[in-house]
């Protein structure tokens, strides 16, 4: 799997390159600035881009802007955005085109190598990887009055949280130490309570849930 990596801090870039290479990814470019990233994305057609939000030369949200621009040119280009902080505002912008293949994680998540590598694979396959903090922000607010979300049982809420992060039923089952069938039952309950259409496609399912949560706020 061919990866373009953009990270301006040498130590982190080096660490990520080593980690991804060790897990069988091919790093076709490891760049440290916005313009370089833009060039790499349009010339190398990677399977997935792993991008730091803040890059030189402006040290603002260069990485995010490059990723969004590249996706406008190549819709659905899988991008995993890393940052020292996560904002629902940015998640919304990343998800806005509804094409999937989006990841948005705190840099800390690389500590858990297995989960991080899983997230990169998921995004490359057109799936979603949303940071738990983003999901918590989405779920934390009460939008005044009665909300479908409030009708979920605590267990269903837990499942919803993991689902919104982009996990598959199998992944959720493993995390919560239950059978996949139990999770399937929970998910169909959740979809019924939220009034969403059930879909077998994992990716579309996640996007529908995220859109619902964002709308509900």
């Amino acid at each position: 799997m061919r990866v373009v990596l953009a990270e301006d801090l040498f130590l982190l870039r080096d660490g990520l390159v080593r980690m991804l290479t060790a897990h069988g990814f091919e790093i076709v470019a490891a760049v440290e600035s916005g313009p370089e990233l833009s060039r790499a994305l349009s010339e190398l057609t990677p399977d997935v881009a792993v991008v730091d939000v803040r890059l030189p030369p402006t040290h603002t949200d260069e990485g995010l802007q490059c990723a969004l621009a590249a996706r406008r040119e190549r819709p659905g280009l899988p991008v995993l955005v890393l940052s020292q902080h996560v904002e629902q505002l940015y998640a919304r912008e990343l998800l806005a085109d509804g094409d999937g293949g989006i990841g948005y994680l705190l840099k800390d998540r690389v500590f858990d190598v297995e989960q991080f590598v899983d997230a990169v694979r998921r995004v490359a396959a057109g799936g979603t990887a949303m940071d738990p903090q983003v999901i918590q922000q989405l779920l934390s607010r009460r939008a005044g009055g009665d909300r479908p979300l409030d009708r979920l049982t605590p267990r269903e809420r837990e499942v919803l949280e993991l689902m919104a992060q982009g996990r598959s039923n199998a992944g959720i089952a493993a995390q919560l130490v239950v059978t996949e069938r139990a999770i399937a039952k929970h998910t169909s309950n959740i979809f019924a309570k939220l009034g969403l259409e059930v879909s077998d496609d994992d990716n579309r399912r996640v996007l529908a849930v995220l859109a619902h949560l964002d709308r509900d706020r």
């Binding site: 040290h59 603002t60 020292q84 902080h85 904002e87 505002l89 922000q137 607010r141 005044g144 706020r217």
Partner: protein, 425 residues
């Protein structure tokens, strides 16, 4: 209709003239005794300084002089709309009699007040008396014509002088009345401006020539002190947070790694446990650093500017908040930061205390000012007084000549408006 208006106009000017006459009379009656008394007291008090008594009496007497001058300033504003600016230096707190007296005597405003006393009891007295004379002297002329002359002119050869008119009989008494009428006619138009002349004279002597500048200096001194205090407190907080948080966690991690190095061969299971602990520590250190950074300068603010930072902030609130932004550019970083933290505080206040279930924030820039409005549909009753969070916001904005206004009637809604003069780039 036309004559009615004319009559109304005549009545109005007549009433004004009469009022100015009475006011002038009151001033003249009060001015002379008070001025003389305070001038004498001041001189005596100053003369007694070498013996020591003056040190105690001078501050008291000068306070009286100031009260007299302040009273005149108030009357000038109330009666004639003339503003007499005053800039007194603040007295050093807890000063002894000697430093108090010295500080008072060094204050140019106090000196001006003292010098004004002799001017006020001479020229001031006459300028105050003039309007009264213009109003009341004609009355005497009419009374003379009406028969009062008989009391003074008892036989031929007796002359009663009404101004320059020698009254010797009814005919010349009528002349006195005519003069009175002329004076009255002039006075009806001139009395108010004569009274104003009295206050203008006072302004020339006791008005602070550089009041606006002095006020500006006072505000700057105050806000600079606030800014220095705030930033010192911030630095202390950051130091403490780092010391007790991230730094301590890194120390713990280092220790764990040392132990792991020792254990890795003898007790791999225990070593593994410690590795997990070290990782947890590093994650927590990162979390703490993230919170700290958010408190110093939020990353969204650095990356996107004020508009998106407020939007991101609104998304973190536990209440629905609508944000409208209209900023054609970015303000200077310090202004952005001050504005952001002000909005944070106001929004937090609204969430905590207002009981609102909806909040609106509006950020825009017009006429060289950044204007931010935060409205909630809560119960109202928010105050800016000392100790409230809003007072802190006001101080913070003050550094940038920013202002804060609160409209919060009981029952709501509450609207907090903040304005900072700035240019966008």
């Amino acid at each position: 209709m036309d004559t009615d208006t004319k009559r109304d106009g005549f009545r109005a000017t007549a009433r004004e003239a009469l009022l100015a006459g009475v006011q002038g009379l009151v001033l003249a009656v009060v001015v002379l005794p008070c001025g003389v008394a305070f001038f004498a007291l001041t001189l005596i008090s100053l003369a007694l300084i070498p013996v020591g008594i003056g040190l105690v009496t001078t501050p008291a007497v000068l306070t009286g002089v100031r009260a007299l001058a302040d009273a005149r300033r108030r009357l000038a504003a109330q009666w004639c709309g003339i503003r007499i600016p005053a800039v007194y230096r603040p007295l050093p707190p807890g000063a002894n009699p000697w430093t108090r007296t010295a500080a008072l005597l060094r204050d140019p405003q106090v000196r001006r007040d003292v010098l004004w006393l002799p001017v006020d009891m001479t020229a001031g007295f006459f300028t105050a008396l003039a309007p009264a004379v213009l109003v009341f002297f004609p009355i005497q002329g009419f009374l003379v014509a009406a028969g009062l002359w008989r009391a003074n002119v008892r036989g031929p050869g007796d002359v009663y002088w009404y101004a320059f008119v020698p009254v010797t009989g009814q005919v010349s008494a009528l002349g006195a009345a005519a003069l009175g009428a002329v004076i009255l006619a002039v006075g009806r138009r001139r009395t108010p401006s004569l009274l104003a002349a009295h206050f203008r004279l006072a302004r020339t002597v006791i008005g602070a020539p550089d009041a606006a500048l002095a006020e500006r200096v006072r505000v700057l001194t105050e806000t600079r002190q606030d800014a220095v205090d705030t930033s010192a407190a911030e630095l202390r907080r950051i130091e403490r947070d780092l010391h007790d948080g991230a730094q301590a966690r890194l120390v713990a991690m280092g220790m764990d790694l040392g132990t792991i190095e020792m254990l890795v061969e003898q007790d791999p299971a225990q070593a593994k446990k410690l590795i997990a602990q070290a990782r947890r520590n590093s994650a927590e250190a990162l979390e703490e650093l993230r919170d700290l950074v958010r408190g110093i300068h939020p990353p969204v603010l650095a990356e996107r500017g004020l508009g998106d930072a407020v939007r991101a902030l609104a998304l973190r609130l536990p209440l629905p908040a609508e944000v409208t932004v209209e900023l054609p550019g970015r303000a200077d970083a310090p202004v952005e930061s001050a504005a952001y933290f002000a909005v944070t505080e106001v929004l937090t206040n609204a969430v905590k205390h207002s009981g609102a279930d909806r909040i609106w924030a509006d950020v825009h820039h017009t006429g060289g000012r950044l204007r931010i409005t935060v409205t909630d549909n809560g119960r109202g009753g928010a105050v800016t007084g000392a100790g409230s969070g809003l007072a802190g916001v006001e101080r913070r904005l003050g550094t940038f000549d920013g202002v804060l206004a609160v409209s919060s009637p009981a029952g709501g809604p509450t609207m907090v408006t903040m304005e900072i003069p700035c240019v966008l780039s």
